[in-house]
Amino acid sequence: MQSCYYIEQMFANVNSTGIAGGSVPSPFFIKGSCYDNHSVLPVIDALAPFFPYGGMQKGTLIEVLSSIVGNGACTLAISLLAAASSQGAWCAVAGLTDLGLLATCELGVDLNRMVMVSPPTSPPAPASPFPSAEFWQAIATLLKGIDIVLLNLSLQDTYLQRYIHTIQRLAAIARKYNSICIVLVSGMGTSLQGQAARSIGASVIMEVVSSKWLGPSGGFGRLHSRVALVESTGRGAAAHPARRTLYLPGSDGKVATAG
């Protein structure tokens, strides 16, 4: 595939020069050791039980799934950035053109350390759901300098199947450069249909199983908080499944443990 070709080219350049594309001043790409397996970036307290080391392990791929669009997976994915961002880590959100920045700020993400990447499109033309080759190349570049890259791939499972190998190459880049790649797959369908999403090979897979909004009733109240059941599984130390009920978000806009 063409997108894989670009990733391979990126690999070739990196291996030969140590620099992305061979065009970037080298002093900026002096990275730490990628074999420091237990170095983690922090997550908020409510999400710490889902990670074996209490935080997101550097150099890994994390996946956030949901069967339908709109049940809180996006909130969950953004909240993974909050603690690390507030402590100085840089974050990039790719493919989420319509990200609500106020909610992002409420979740605790420092907007001064977050960039959003999306293919430039003219307003009347809707963005294509299928990532272009340039988009994949941009993600690979970001993984070399940004601590956490959140990639929105809300595609149907049959389409997602095409990109599994590309995502796995991105995971290799993240491993090499000690960064974290979070893949958001929202609206993948039922569990049986989500086989492709689960076969990406993520270290930790978090899934919003169900959710319910609390608050509004017949014109009274407001959207107060959402209670969501979140499950996680993964590989290695994260293989032991975890299940928590979270406010996603709570009334203050932050993610917290429910009950």
Partner: protein, 512 residues
């Protein structure tokens, strides 16, 4: 009026600017933006602790620029629970002069520079504030802005280059835009002046060590290292270079950053701003954008700081005649629009979670995570299948029951809340006409002749081909002054924020 020389209000909150508590720094800016939104619609966050607003017509509403500045200052103090360091406000022509005025108003003051008097205001100030180490007054005899302004423009260009020419344009009141380098220089100077509580221009003596490290102020006050004022780290450099690489490969508009500012609903309170290489100058030491005006000929502000270059803080009193007094406590007519939402009065028992709350003037949180740039037209119907309308008194014509998205997608609404009515404020520039065009998959075609109206700034409406509802063109621009929003939850548990404008509904956001 010259571009960049608009009347500008700047609010500085040193308590926030130099706060060491990271949690406080991450949350307080939003509270400040909320507070400022109640005062004016154009407030922007320049940096954490520094807020600016281009003054449009607001002072007429508040009774003058001084009152407007005082109201904004009071709102910030209330939001930050100012601990005594002192929030200041400055009003002047252009951003640079307003920022300097706010810096000089340290001590809970407000300085208002009358329109057209900015050169006189700047004249006695040391030119080091903007130029850093670029000019050497001992050698050249150029001490103040006034000295610089008196030099012939042609000679300045030939002798000192474009950078100092830009400073001269500021000194003469022809330019007022704030560049990253000038901002860094002013902030460094402010940090020096604030150390030990000394006011700007009155610090006769200063510690060169602290002068070279703005974070010394924060460390000294709080005992906590302040990473925000530290020189850019290698991590910042790596990130910015990666972003720059993406910017080069994908083009302008592909990379953006978020910015909070004033407003009453999510779409108004934050926006995406296209990332440009200018951002590099604040995060990457030594970076100079090709063609960018940089004030230091050989070194920028960060490099200057590393070499312990001292900034001159010789005493210069604020010019006489400018307002420099205590902020007023009066908020003005719209300062605190507190209205109780009395649920009991609306014939329906509120649940325990729906206790009456103070109507803050904003859409209540939590905010939607997905906010559509181009809201999708939808149709909202009641149980009888009729369109739901929001009347001017905030009542709905019927209970929302069915949400029609696009041509065929219909979802049932299980619960809803609202409406929140937002009356347009008369000083808002965009209030007199919306460019939104109601055309969807449910809209077979645009009404004929609408594009002329659209280009004229009026709303253009389509018709619901599927629904068989013929919409009428709304030529009355004043109808755009009122919007209403409701929150709905569908039977599948998804929350949406719907916007009603001129009788038409749009899906504005999803609570994903």
């Amino acid at each position: 009026m010259e571009i960049g020389m608009e009347r500008t209000l700047v609010i500085i909150t040193p308590a926030l600017l130099y706060a060491g508590d990271l949690d406080y720094r991450s949350l307080a800016p939003m509270q400040v933006c909320n507070a400022l939104a109640a005062v004016g619609p154009s407030f922007r966050e320049v940096n954490i602790g520094i807020y600016s607003s281009t003054i449009w017509r607001e002072p007429r509403y508040f009774g003058g620029e001084e009152s407007f500045a005082a109201a904004a200052k009071q709102a910030v103090e209330d939001a930050t629970r100012d601990n005594g360091v002192g929030t200041t406000a400055g009003v002047a022509d252009g951003m640079v002069a307003a920022l300097l005025a706010a810096c000089m108003a340290v001590g809970n003051g407000t300085i208002v520079v009358p329109q057209g008097e900015t050169p006189d205001f700047l004249a006695p100030l040391p030119v080091h504030i903007l130029t850093g180490c670029a000019l050497h007054p001992d050698i050249l005899g150029i001490d103040t802005f006034g000295d610089l302004a008196r030099l012939p423009e042609k000679d300045v260009l030939n002798r000192f280059g474009r950078n100092i020419l830009y400073c001269r344009q500021i000194a003469t009141g022809k330019q007022g835009k704030l560049t990253p380098t000038i901002y860094d220089s002013i902030m460094k100077w402010l940090a020096v002046c604030l150390q030990d509580g000394k006011e700007p221009f009155s610090a006769k003596e200063h510690d060169p060590g602290i002068a070279s490290r703005p974070d010394g102020v924060a460390s000294k006050r709080h005992g906590i290292p302040n990473r925000w004022s530290e020189p850019p780290s290698q991590q910042d450099g790596q990130a910015c270079i990666a972003i720059y690489d993406v910017y080069r490969s994908m083009g302008y508009g592909s990379v953006s950053m978020g910015k909070l500012h004033g407003g009453r609903y999510p779409a108004e309170r934050a926006e995406q701003i296209a990332w440009t290489p200018k951002e590099m100058s604040s995060h990457v030491p030594g970076w100079h954008e090709p063609g960018q005006i940089s004030l230091g000929k050989t070194e920028n502000a960060v490099d200057a700081g590393k070499k312990n270059l001292q900034l001159d803080t010789s005493h210069v009193a604020p010019p006489a005649g400018y307002v420099n007094g205590q902020g007023r406590s009066g908020i003005g007519f719209i300062g605190k629009p507190e209205v109780w939402l009395d649920c009991a009065a609306n014939a329906g028992p509120p649940s325990s979670m729906d206790m009456p709350e103070v109507w803050s003037g904003y859409l209540p949180g939590p905010s939607p995570v997905v906010l559509y740039r181009n809201p999708t037209p939808v149709a909202v119907r009641d149980r009888k299948g009729e369109r739901v309308r929001v009347y001017s008194n905030g009542e709905v014509s019927g209970e929302p029951y069915l949400l029609v998205i696009g041509r065929n997608a219909q979802v049932w609404i299980s619960s809803w809340a609202g409406p929140w009515v937002f009356e347009g404020r008369w000083w808002e520039r965009n209030a007199y006409g919306s460019h939104r065009c109601h055309s969807t998959g449910a809209c077979s075609t645009h009404s004929t002749g609408n594009h002329a109206a659209k280009s004229a700034g009026h709303r253009s409406q389509g018709k619901y081909g599927m629904q068989g509802i013929q919409s009428t063109r709304t030529q009355n621009a004043y109808s755009a002054l009122r919007q209403a929003r409701i929150q709905v939850v569908t039977v599948s548990g998804i929350g949406y924020l719907l916007l009603e404008e001129g009788g038409y509904w749009y899906m504005e956001a999803t609570y994903d």
